[in-house]
Symmetry: D2
Subunit: 337 residues, 4 copies
């Protein structure tokens, strides 16, 4: 951490501040005196230091981190890719491209079973489907809740697919026993209380990027989960909020190679929510895998125009099959598994 002091800082102020830094945090402080200003260089683990605390000092002109504020999620301290392995042999992060597919909402036992069979046939290894749905309006369909969880379990038993579904509340955790991957939605990416509890659960987590989160904030949310002991995390790019209204969000494809460079965690791409338009799912799936994504999560509905939520972005199982086939040939060209 580099701290630039104001030109008018006195030697006493500087000394008092330097002493405070050393006593609060486990760091050494190097002082470099220039003509115009004095610069302090902090050596040691600066990740617990609050930048706002430093900025608030009257003698501080500005401050800049040299180290990233995340440690457990940082590739520097963990050079090898994290590979998440499931009981049935599926792996995420090992160079393969996994397909997660299914409806936005679980609507009935028949619906989820039908879709599960079809997406499995088309190449999916993981079934997605929402039982607890966080919706902008209190008057919109909020999911089948506990009943939806049971339908998912039945589909898992019948097809052998792994299941991923979203959690919205700490007290629901016991309902997620049968779930293979707990999804934390974009609106809860900074629900730190939820992150901490999930961190205690040891179950793989799909951590969606917040609606308008920076990549660093997203990695810090992964760090929350990891700091409680759970390092089975996949980061999911699902678009960010911008001024452009042609798509629901702007999919930040560059976040895929950036996260893979800064962190050892796998990255999943969600072209369905990122764009909100079914006809963009294919080109954005291709782009995501070409940029290095470890998997795709795609909305598939047996009857998109009757979907109880988010139909506009859902593919039919047949369309999903076409996308999967195209991505398969791309994978081959890229030397991916």
């Amino acid at each position: 951490m580099i701290i630039i002091l104001k030109p008018n800082a006195t030697a006493e102020q500087r000394e008092a501040f330097t002493d405070a830094l050393k006593s609060y945090y486990n760091v050494n402080v190097n002082t470099w005196e220039g003509v115009q200003s004095t610069v302090l260089g902090l050596i040691g683990d600066t990740s617990p230091i609050d930048i706002d605390f430093v900025n608030a000092q009257t003698i501080v002109e500005s401050v800049r981190r040299v180290q990233e504020p995340y440690k457990k999620a940082n590739r520097k301290f963990h050079p090898d890719n994290t590979v998440i392995e499931f009981a049935n042999g599926v792996k995420i992060g090992d160079g393969s491209v996994q397909y997660m597919a299914g409806p936005c909402s679980v609507e009935s036992q028949e619906q989820i079973l039908e879709i599960a069979h079809k997406v499995k046939k088309a190449g999916a290894t993981i079934l997605r489907g929402g039982a607890f749905k966080p919706r902008t309006s209190p008057y919109a369909f909020q999911g089948l809740k506990a009943e939806g969880m049971e339908f998912l379990s039945a589909a898992k038993k019948e097809t052998g697919l792994l299941i991923v579904t979203e959690i919205t509340r700490v007290s629901h955790l016991p309902l997620f026993k049968d779930v293979d991957i707990i999804q934390v939605g974009a609106r809860n990416m900074q629900n730190f209380e939820l992150l901490k509890e999930i961190g205690k659960s040891k179950k793989p987590v799909l951590l969606k990027r917040g609606l308008a989160s920076t990549i660093e904030e997203w990695l810090m949310s992964a760090e929350y989960i990891m700091s409680e002991g759970n390092d089975q995390i996949m980061l999911c790019e699902r678009g960010i909020r911008t001024y452009e209204s042609m798509t629901r969000n702007t999919m930040d494809i560059s976040a895929i190679p950036i996260v893979k460079r800064l962190s050892h965690l796998p990255v999943i791409a969600d072209p369905s929510h990122a764009t909100g338009k079914s006809w963009l799912v294919e080109p954005m799936s291709m782009a995501s895998v070409a940029a290095g994504a470890d998997g795709l999560i795609i909305e598939v509905h047996n009857n998109p125009s009757k979907a109880l939520s988010d139909g506009a972005q859902s593919l039919t199982p047949e369309q999903f099959g076409d996308v999967a086939a195209k991505v398969d040939s791309l994978k081959a060209a890229l030397g991916r598994i």
Copy 2:
């Protein structure tokens, strides 16, 4: 709701869709046939209708709400201002300008008592202070928690100030018995599970705007609380995320008159978090009140450069006194109480 159908929609498709709308929702459907396209006009309460469901229909070209999707928060159905009254006679929303002031974090009993006395003397009627702090980093100071809540209660008892403090988790609600205003922070604005529980509590709520929320989403979050029976809500503008990096957020002053036109709920402005810079608190407080804010929430610390969080944006009690005096003369010129 106006639905424009695709030019190639057949009469059968149109009829089937119209029947579906009537049977799912309590609406009448008017059909206007044009040369290029057919337009459906829905009459009745369209707020429960899911726009995504409509958009997903293969025969739908586009859809547009005429009604706002919020009802209880809507000024159309509740023309008079909501006025929130407290036991000690303080009112919010009655034309007065109330000052909420205090530190970002409660740090000790002495600290909060000293600040409470000083901000009261300077004109504040409500004491703010965080006990549960949602922080981006798991390694940063997370607040004194239950102990901090006790320090706040003691400050309330000793000074007679009302208290406002943030909740981060449903299970903490019992600790908020003595709190006068429950704050929902920006990161939890769409934590719908938390909103629903707070909606059952009947306690006044300060609902901060999300980091990158639209005004409509913010009003929908108020609607969540209101739909559970609690209509004692203040909306708090605290800046939105933009590309500009000179300030922590971009304070959307226009949100103040817009919310007051669309809704009957009071609006509080938070210039400290909106800008992140103490020297901007005065001009942005003035602007907020000139634009119609019902109150200000301002960070005040007895020793900003020793603050454990967010010191860079805190005022000293003396600076807060100056701001309050300037806003007082502005209030007089505006005919505010």
Copy 3:
């Protein structure tokens, strides 16, 4: 165009407004009377109608375009891809993927010749290089200007590469005689006076997306050029401004398939300027082509750390060769030329 009138609009007001629309513009007006409100449907060419004019009417509740406001750039009226052909046989928009490569700035005759030979060997068909450089600071290097143009011409003559370079001022047009593709930079995307003059020149144009332009505004800028008679336009995605600071801009990969669906014009991707980081050029090049781009424009410098501008995002000729080789195998897998 669908215009929703306010419920309290009188029959006289409606008639006067309808008559005004018919007399100002060449349209017919259908009136659909509902219970709550009246809707006007405009039939005919509504592209010249000013939405603001309509919105300003006291009896208008809201207005919505059904047609896109661009005609010549619109795929609806021109279903086939525009293919731009050059004298040497190079084509853009025919399914091939063309590489434009070269330095941000032309720095000397030797520099541009050396780079030209190397990028040609690596597969580029078009040489890029700036002679007139629009820079944020008046004190930064502004390019070699007319001399730089001569160095480019010499490189063209010696290597047979086509050349693309940026124009910043109408009066410079005569200097562009030898240039094969005139680039309009992001900061000039809405310099309408420049667009109109370029529209008269018939030379192929590379139209960069503005720093924070919508896709529709970008297509409208293409329409400006086309409305003067020049339809040889390539649209260049170069990232948009968002809150994310990890990259210089956020590359909007989804803009590639969107533009190709809405318009018949070819799309070029600029991963160098979009990200500002040389190590992101490869993954973003791959993503762009996987999403359907007709070409790439990539900054290549023989000595990036001595580049007079934008070195941080430049590749060495060797690195460019590696990227081109990877994109070549991707092209093969995609069935591109």
Copy 4:
């Protein structure tokens, strides 16, 4: 300027880089060697140094400006407010609040005369009106051009009001002889060729903030004009592009006190274009002046619903009179002239 070198930089590399900096630019380089990394501190005028050049060096980890990159616009080197004085005694920047008012477009001699008389009576000292209109669509009304300039001159002669109007092209400059303030529109804020020519003209300039420009870029555009010798510049805040769609732009009120702190130049607020809604003009005018604006520019039309452009945001002369009266009482309370 503080440059942090990579830990693996060799002594030779460091020396070569230090020598290059000294020879290219007129600076001294202080070297501070830390345990983890070496930091270079540059002393002298670093404003001509290209940050991208520095970042591109292979041995550079990161770089940070301590000085602002603008000099002539910088309050540090020019502590007193710039006051712009006109022949008729009107001053901008002296503590007064000036009103600029008039239609978006000049439409006829009668129209501009009628509005001029009415806004003068209501307190305006400067008449605004567009003759050359930069429009997103080539098919929209582009202004009366030279004829409109003549109508403005006639209105000036008849009423004694100063006139402000927009320039879109260098070659139009001779038509601006009679104009008192040349407006550079948001879309041309980084049309550097235009800025340079205007810098040679010595006429007062109203420089609008770009659609999505940072405050620093905006000041750099002022610097362009000043670097050619013209320091009669007013900066005009007109809203920035964000994701919020309730207003046309998000008015960045905080930019007003920020610019006034960083620079000595006056700041004008444009609530009409910033919001796009006439009913927001009053509260945003109040907020702008409360935050320190030196003037307001407001769209006024004698018949907003017949305006040929931007009617939705125009006030009638009577409404403008009401706003001016309210701002007048605010001015009095603030001790402004």
